[in-house]
Symmetry: C2
Subunit: 209 residues, 2 copies
């Protein structure tokens, strides 16, 4: 014969919840107290999963919400008009939006032209990375460009290191090079658990572009 | 004595690049041709890494760029004003923004009140999930609510299943329940490769909130 569990009243359960949450809060508060520095962050969003560029554009929206200014360079996209481009172009005083790509490399099929476009794109990015009035620079799909060797990682790292102290930078795209991961403060790798495309669903406006 | 590699001219290399990219394009095009359905997607962004909520807000921006309408319910946030709230409240005709939380559960320390707030939040979410004029519904940090058992997963799944056919939904937060992952079209798990917070850098406006 088993002994039944001691029944607990809702008050007991609430008290236990409160005690557990108090312990958790103490631990979180201690971690927050230890994190007392402000600095311009270098963030990298990489991996094959959905959400890298959209996350960068969410940070752009947040930055605008705090009264900041944003610069965007899209290195690969450019073949089709995107929702993010249309939307952020509404705010020309707050967002500088540059689309420097012509589509994915398997669409252009011309390495020399891809390299030329990338170099022109990087010149624009470098300009943004020199401006203290720009709070966030989004370098969309730059990782792909670096992974293809279209631009030296050392050039990118040097320009990132020379930027104004408080400026945040988000770099997106699969295949972030190890040197960039090393230099970054925050790096997220987005894994595919599942993807609609594999279920025969095409890229949806608003979601994928 | 080793035989030197046959030197390749830039033309050879460009031709090889083109051939490789043509093969890649054929494979991509075939996959795109197989993905011929449009549908309202259920997307889940989970995992411990940075970029879940910001990705949802990037999709909100994209949706607005395509002329769509967005509904947002934030289930946990609400203790401090966020950049996303300030920003998206600029567009009251295009975005319905609801903040229903009072902070993280370890801040409130009151399970009964948390549950009450969550239930009120879900009533708002259900209203958005019944509106064909809303193209994207963002349910920010809902996974945390579900993981804590503050709301039955079955209730959420039933309301999601009953929504208009073309409506997209993005659910964010750590600890997505398996039933929600099962029901979703696209699920990304965001891994922490590194995080600024662990390097003593506090949450930065525009980036984390």
């Amino acid at each position: 014969m088993s002994i039944p569990d001691t029944p607990t009243s809702p008050e007991d359960s609430e008290a236990r919840h409160k005690a557990k949450m108090q312990r958790h809060k103490a631990a979180v508060d201690a971690r927050i107290a230890r994190a007392d520095q402000d600095t311009g962050l270098l963030l990298v969003l990489t991996g094959p999963g959905k959400g890298k560029s959209s996350s960068a554009f969410g940070m752009a929206a947040r930055t605008l919400g705090h009264g900041g200014r944003v610069g965007v360079v899209q290195f690969i996209k450019g073949a089709i008009p995107t929702g993010e481009e249309r939307f952020f172009r509404r705010f020309p005083d707050e967002v500088e939006f540059h689309v420097t790509g012509e589509g994915f490399t398997w669409e252009t099929q011309n390495r020399a032209r891809d390299v030329e476009r990338v170099e022109a794109g990087w010149a624009i990015a470098r300009g943004l990375l020199q401006r203290p009035d720009i709070d966030l620079v989004v370098l969309d799909e730059l990782n792909i460009v670096l992974a293809h060797g279209y631009l030296p990682v050392a050039t990118v790292l040097a320009d990132l290191a020379a930027r104004p102290a408080g400026q945040h930078v988000v770099v997106t795209g699969r295949g972030a090079p190890p040197e960039l991961v090393e230099a970054a403060h925050t790096v997220s790798e987005i894994k595919v658990v599942k993807h609609a495309f594999k279920q025969g669903i095409r890229a949806q406006p608003g979601i994928e572009f």
